[in-house]
Each structure stands twice: as structure tokens, then as C-alpha cells.
Subunit: 208 residues, 2 copies
């Protein structure tokens, strides 16, 4: 490398180190104020993909840290999913319950949907009350709330009364405003581009 290029590179490195030092200092100051541990009410909503996947990723992390997690799926159940196979390999850490009977437009039976939502919700309540579980996932609960299959008030009351250190994760599009209000951490997944638009079908490993 010629001497001037070398000097330029050395100066870029120095500027980078200084910038990173400043970011690090700012970050340390910020992190020092974050001292509490707390069970979180987490909501993944929006029309984009990744709401359930991100919850499953958090389950993976929790398993890795030796936590016990309960997962109740309000919509899935009719179809075998990849996640069930994996989580069933960790019976000490995960209780995985697909309790839906398929998408609600496949059943066309409101009374049955309400009954199955109630059974699934009872499971969520049991896991929230049982100190053995440190994390509870209510997958697609928002869809059930959207169709008024469960009273929102009852759900909010149960979350408000949850043990302080317990994490609860709720997924599904159209999260009710009152649930977003009650939550500690809310992420909206927004679709920027979707391959369905160009004729690609749902695929193993991606959609299920």
C-alpha cells in the first residue's frame, strides 16, 4: 500500500475507534440505568410475517437458559408443524399444545370455535398460575379476540394479575388497543414484500 493510502486507512481506523468508543460510553451509561428484572407482557402484531416465528425463537432462547415454557396455539392444531417436533425433544422445558382446529374459516362453526378458544384459554390461565412456568406463549390469541371468541376484559384481567416475574407472549394480527396499552413490549411486523404475490406457495420451514 502506498504511504498516503496507508495514512488514510490509519486515520479511518482512528475515527472509527473514536466513534465506537463514544457509542460504547453512551450505551454503558444507558445500560447502568436498566437494573430491574421483570416479567414482561409481550405482543407481536401487524400483518407481516414473523409474529409466531419470533415467539418460537424466544422459546428456543428460554429453553437454552433452562427455563420452562408453556406454548398454547389457538389456531394451529389441525396440521403438524415443524416446531412441535423440535419442542417435543425438550419435554422437561416445553409443554407445547396446539389446541386450534385449523383456521377458523375452515371450521365455519362459531360455537365450536368459541368452545375451543375457551379450552385453550383455560390452559393459558393454568400455565400463568403455575409457578413452574417462567414463560407462557398464547399464539394467535389476538385472532380469537378479534372474533370475540373470548371476552377481552377477562383476558386483560388475567394478564394484569399474572405473577410479576412471568413472561407472557401474545401473537396475532389486530392486537386490541387495550392489550397494546397493557403490554410492556410491543413489536409490529410489517410486510414490505411477500412472495405469495408472485405465485410462490406456502413452504415447509417458512410458513409451517
Amino acid at each position: 500500500m502506498p504511504a498516503d493510502r496507508e495514512e488514510e486507512a490509519a486515520s479511518a481506523d482512528a475515527r472509527h475507534a473514536e466513534k465506537m468508543r463514544k457509542i460504547q460510553a453512551a450505551r454503558s451509561t444507558m445500560m447502568a440505568t436498566k437494573t430491574r428484572e421483570q416479567g414482561l407482557l409481550i405482543v407481536h402484531t401487524g400483518t407481516g410475517k414473523g409474529k409466531t416465528s419470533a415467539a418460537l425463537g424466544m422459546v428456543v432462547r428460554a429453553i437454552g437458559h433452562g427455563m420452562k415454557v408453556g406454548v398454547v396455539q389457538f389456531v394451529k392444531g389441525a396440521m403438524a408443524t415443524g416446531e412441535k417436533t423440535v419442542f417435543d425433544a425438550f419435554p422437561e422445558n416445553v409443554e407445547f399444545k396446539p389446541m386450534g382446529e385449523g383456521f377458523t374459516w375452515d371450521t365455519q362453526d362459531r360455537t365450536r370455535d368459541i368452545a375451543s378458544a375457551r379450552t385453550a384459554w383455560d390452559e393459558v390461565c393454568r400455565m400463568i398460575a403455575d409457578p413452574a412456568y417462567q414463560m407462557v406463549v398464547a399464539d394467535e390469541l389476538n385472532i380469537v379476540l378479534r372474533y370475540d371468541y373470548l371476552p377481552l376484559d377477562e383476558v386483560l384481567k388475567a394478564f394484569a394479575a399474572k405473577p410479576e416475574m412471568k413472561h407472557v407472549i401474545v401473537t396475532g394480527r389486530n392486537a386490541p388497543d387495550a392489550l397494546i396499552e397493557a403490554a410492556d413490549l410491543v413489536t409490529e411486523m410489517t410486510m414490505i414484500k411477500h412472495p405469495f404475490r408472485s405465485g410462490v406457495k406456502a413452504q415447509a420451514g417458512i410458513e409451517f
Copy 2:
């Protein structure tokens, strides 16, 4: 139930069944046009949480379907993560490589960061080329691109030349426009609410 209430409920059920039947019919028509299978270039970006978690959730699904997945983490590596423990239990299905040396503001050494980005990228290229892998995750690659640790052109060229059936997932905030342009499926994770704001620290199972 009094007779009029019973009638009302029966009518609500009938309306619901009709609505669901219409949704199902529309959905069947749409799904019938989705016939192709194709390896997807998937991007999870945005400033919200869930970008890496959602990729990990997809890895879980892929494992469950017996696929082989390669995961290269460009930033993580200095700290043990929950996901590594779990994926290491499936050595036939997952090759999991945390190849970062911590967040770049912790290293403050641009030359070293560039070298470690290059080593990690070589791994991604190897996994893309090797027919044994059906899915490859380049976790936090966007951060590396943001800092110009790798030439964007080189990365885009490698993705454009990937085998047709291979899924590649890229995560990290600030995805370059040209990568979004090249991708098949792009989700933006948007932060609606974050508990850091109220003094809660990063917790096992949630952030790592």
C-alpha cells in the same frame, strides 16, 4: 335460554358460517394460484425486536421438517446464547456458528471487525454453495453492510447466484435498499413499546 335469545344466537352462528365460507372460498381460489416452490431470499429488518428471533423460529420449523440449516452470526459470539444450546442438540440438522466478537462498539478495532466479517461471510458462501444445506441464516449481516465491512456488490452477487431452491435469511436493522430490492420476502419489525424505556434490563430468554 329463552326462545328469542336462542333464535338470535342461531342467527349469529348462521351469519358467521356464511362469512367464514366466503373467506374460505376466496382463500382457496388464491391458494390455487400459488403453485411454485422456490428458495427465498428473506430479510428481517427495522428497529424493532424479533428480527433474529423470527429467523431462529424458522430454523426450528426447518429442523422439524428434517432440513439442514446453517446459521452464521456476524455479531454474536462473545456471549453464550440460549439458542446455541438448543441447536447444538441437533447436530445433524444445524450448523450454528457465532462468529462475531461482540458488538462492534465493544471491539473498537475496525481492521479486526473487517477480518471477522470476512471470515463469517466465507462461511455463508460455503453454506450457500453446499447442496447439503437447504436454509442459510446470515444473522446481523445488515449491520456489517451498514459499516461497510463487506462490499454490498459482492454480497448481492452471491445471493443472485444462489441455488434456486435454497432459502437465505438475512437479519439486522438498516437493510440496504438494494438488498430489499433483491429479496423475495421482507418484513420490517417496528418498535411500538420497549421496556428498556422504563428501566428494565436485558433478560435471559428475551434478549439473549
